[in-house]
Point group: C2
Chain length 524, copies 2
Amino acid sequence: MSLTTEQPEGEGGGRRARGEGRGAAARRASRSGGGPGPSLPYITRKIREYEVLDEEGLQLIERNADTVLEEIGIEFRDDAEALALWKDAGCEIKGERVHFPKGLCRELLKTAPKSFTWHARNPVRSVEIGGKATVFAPVYGPPFVRDLEGNRRYATIEDFRNFVKLAYMAPSMHSSGGTVCEPVDVPVNKRHLDMIYSHLKYSDKPFMGSVTAPERAEDTIAMAKLVFGEDFVEQNTVTLNLINANSPMVFDETMVGALKVYARHNQASVVSPFILSGAMSPVTVAGTLTQILAEVLAGAAFTQLIRAGSPVLFGTFAASISMQSGAPTFGTPEPSLVSYGAAQLARRLGLPFRTGGSLCGSKVPDAQAAHESANTLNMTLLAGTNFVLHAAGWLEGGLVSSYEKFMIDQDQLGMMQKMAEGIDLTEEAQALDAIREVGPGSHYLGCAHTQANFQTAFYRSPLADNNSFEQWEIEGSKRIEQRANALCRTWLEQYEAPYLDPAIDEALLAYVAKRKESMPDAFT
Amino acid sequence: MSLTTEQPEGEGGGRRARGEGRGAAARRASRSGGGPGPSLPYITRKIREYEVLDEEGLQLIERNADTVLEEIGIEFRDDAEALALWKDAGCEIKGERVHFPKGLCRELLKTAPKSFTWHARNPVRSVEIGGKATVFAPVYGPPFVRDLEGNRRYATIEDFRNFVKLAYMAPSMHSSGGTVCEPVDVPVNKRHLDMIYSHLKYSDKPFMGSVTAPERAEDTIAMAKLVFGEDFVEQNTVTLNLINANSPMVFDETMVGALKVYARHNQASVVSPFILSGAMSPVTVAGTLTQILAEVLAGAAFTQLIRAGSPVLFGTFAASISMQSGAPTFGTPEPSLVSYGAAQLARRLGLPFRTGGSLCGSKVPDAQAAHESANTLNMTLLAGTNFVLHAAGWLEGGLVSSYEKFMIDQDQLGMMQKMAEGIDLTEEAQALDAIREVGPGSHYLGCAHTQANFQTAFYRSPLADNNSFEQWEIEGSKRIEQRANALCRTWLEQYEAPYLDPAIDEALLAYVAKRKESMPDAFT
C-alpha cells in the first residue's frame, strides 16, 4: 500500500495557504467540509457552564489536593531530569517520589496560557483552546474497528485514513484528532509516521502528535515543520498531545518524555489522569476529584518547568469500574459529576479543560451506546469543556473505532454546536409580529416569520428518521445505524482531499521514507 | 376479560394504609417495588438548576407575554362560564377572546401553591410536586404498542395493566401515570373507568385523572373518593391532570371543562401548551417561550378563579417540526432551550414545572431513540423539572408505548436519580485516608475504603452490558433491547399486586359496573 498513489485535489491548504494568496481558498474551505455541507468553525459557547460544586466544596477539594501533593507526593519514574528540575524548584525528593510545597504548582502554572490558538495548516481551520471555545476531536486509540460490513477486526492504515477523511468532512468536527485507530498493519515503531502523514495529507484540520516515545514526538515536530515552517512551529502551537498520568499518582518515562519534547517546542500537553474510579482512584467522586487535581497540578506545572508559557490543558478521563466484572462503565452519573467538578477546578486554575466525548461500553451502536454517549456528551458541553477527545466513533470502552457510530455521533456534535448558541433574543427572534399575525387558533406554518427563519431555526439531522411509520416501513424499516452506514459510504465516495503543496507533500514523504529506512520493523 | 379475576396479594395499601396500622406494610412497601429492588422515593434534587436566560432575557419574555395577553388575548371556546369569570376578574371580552389587564394573571396566581403533596393510596408513595422535588411518570397517550413479540398494534386494556404494573415495579418511577396507552379494545366512553380502576388496583403509586370530558373527570373524583375517602379528596390532592392548551392561544371546552372539575375538587391541573415550534408557535425559541408563558399564565390563573389555592403546574411540551415532512422532531437543541427557559419562567412565577421526559421520533428503540430521549431527559433533570411525564416507554413521537423502551428508559431514570444526589463531601467521601493507604502506582480495588463504599458508590444498570467482547459474544451478541425484552418478561412474571382492601376493591368494581351500564358503547 503506497502513500504516494493519491494525488492532491483542489486548491488551498499547505504552508502557502497562510500567505497572501490564501483568501479564495480559505473562503471556499470555510464553506465546504468536503461534501456534506459547510465545515463549522469551533464552538464559541454562548451558554453558561453547569456547576456541581459550590465555593466551599471547591476549596475543600483544593485543600485536599494540596495535602496529597505535599504529604503523599507524585512519582516521576525513570526520569532523572524531571526529579532534578523538581528539586531545583523547591520540592523534596524521596526516591522517585516528589513532595510539593503548598502552592508551588499553582505558582508555576501562572505562566501557562488561559487560552491559545491551535493552528491548522489551513488557517481557517485553526481553533482556540480555552475560554468559551469548545473543540471536538474524533475517537483516540482503538486497536479494532467495526467496519461497514459489520466485521470487528484489527484496524489498518486504510481505516486510519478513512477516519481522518470522515473527521475532515464532518461539519462539527473541528480537529483531525490523533490516533483515530491503531493501524496495526504498520510496524509499531513506524506507525506514527504514517499517522502523522495521513493527518497532514487527508485533512487540513488541526492534528495531534505522537506520544508513545520521545523520538516519535520529535518526528511529529519535524514533520509539522515541513508543513508550517521551522520558526512558526517554535513560536506557535500546531499540535495538541495527550499525556496520560499513570493514576494513581505516577507519571512514567514515556509520557514525561513526550511531554518534555512537546513543551520545549511550545506544543500543547493535555495532562490527563486516566481514571476508572474504584481502581485508579477512590470509589467516591470527591476522592477522585482530589486525586485528579493533585495529578494535574503536578503534571501541568512540570510543563512550565520545561518551558514557561507553553500551553497545557487540565485533562480528565473519568469512568467508573464495575465491581462485579472489573470492566469500565460509561455514561453513568458518577463520572459526569467528576467531570463537572473537574471543569470547575480547571477554570479556577486558569487552564483550558479536556474531558468527555461520546463514550460507551456497548459492543454495537445500539440504545446502550447512545444513552451512554449522550449522557457523556451533554455533560461535556454543559461543563464548558474546551477540548473534547473521543467526540465521535468510540465503541466498546474505546477498544473499537466504529464507522457507523462515528456518523451517528457527529450528528449529535452538530446538535451540541447548535445548543451552544443559546437563545437568540433579537427582535426578529422575539417574533411578536408573527404571534400578532397568526393569532389564536391558527398556525405558523405559512406565516412570513416562519418563511423567513425556518432555514436556520432548527438543527436538521441527516440521520434521524421523523417520517410516518408507514413511510419508514416503505423505506425498509431501517434502524439509524443502517442509515449511518449508507451515509458513511456516500461520504467516503464523495471525499475530496484538501490541497497540499506538492513540494511539501514530497518533503513529507521523503521524511517518512528516510525515517522508516533507519529502523527495523517492530510489531510489539 | 373480567376485572375481578385477579385476587389481591400481600398486605398494605388502600384506605386503611393511611391509618394507625400502616407501619409494617409501609416499611415493606418502601423497601420493595414489587421485585426488581426497592422503590425509591421521589427525587429531592441536591444539584442546582441549569439556566439559559439571564435576568434581562427573562424580563423581555415576560414583557412580551404580557403584551400577548393584553393586546392579542387568549380564547376560551364554548364556555360561557369561563368568559363570565374572566369578565368579573376585570378582563375585556371580545367574542370568545379574553384580553388580560397587565399583571392580572400573576396577581391571581399568588394563591396557587408553590409546592404540594400528591397523595398515593399508599402513603409511603406520596410525592411532593414543586421546589427541589422531581417526580417521574410513564408515557401518556399512545394508541399503539410495540409488544414483546415485536408487533406494532393497537393497545389493549391488558397492555394498559401491564404498563401500570411495570411503572409500579420500576424503582425510579414515582407515579403510576395516566393514559399509559389507549386501551382501544374498550369503548371510548367507558375506557377511563377501566383505566382509573387499573391504576388503583395494580399500583399504589399516585395516579393521573381522566381529562377527555368533564363527566370523566367526575368519575375520576368519585372513584378516588372510594379509595381515599370523601373529605380527604376535597381537602387534599390525589390526582394530577393534564390540561393541554390548543396552541396557539386557545383553551377548548373539553380541556377547560376537565380543569374546572378538578380545580373545584382541589385536584392539580398541569396547564401545558402542546408546542411543535413552527406550527403551534413561532419558529424561534424566544417567540415560543413568549407564547408558552402567555398561555400558561391564562390557563393557570383560571384555576385560581375556580378555586383559589388549588394546585396548578406550569407545563411545557416542546418539540420542533420538520419543515420538510411536517413531522415533529425530538431531542434537538431548540426544544431543550425552550424547556430550560420555561423552567426559569415557572420558578419566577412560583409554580411547579412540568416538561420533558424520554421523547423521541424513532420507530424502534435504537440509537436514534436513545439519543433523542437522553438529550431530552438530561435537560429535564438539569432544568429542575418537578413533574416529568413520558419519562419511560415513549416511542414514535408518542404514537407508541414500547415495552422494551420502557425498560431501557426506566434504567436511565435510575441514573438521573443518582445524578440528582450531587457530590457527597463528607469526610468518608473525601477518601484522603484511602489515597494515603494506596499511594502512587498501586490500585484501589481491594482497599478498605473501596470495600466499605462500593455498594452505594456507583449506579448499577441492570441492562447495560459492560462485559468483554468475548463474553458478550458467548452470551449471544445481544443488543440492549433484547436484554430489555427479557427483563420485562421477568418483571411481569414476578409482579405482585399491592394490597387493596377487598371492600374498596368491590366498591370500585361496583362503581365501574354501574357507570358502564348507564352508557351505550361508543368507539369514536
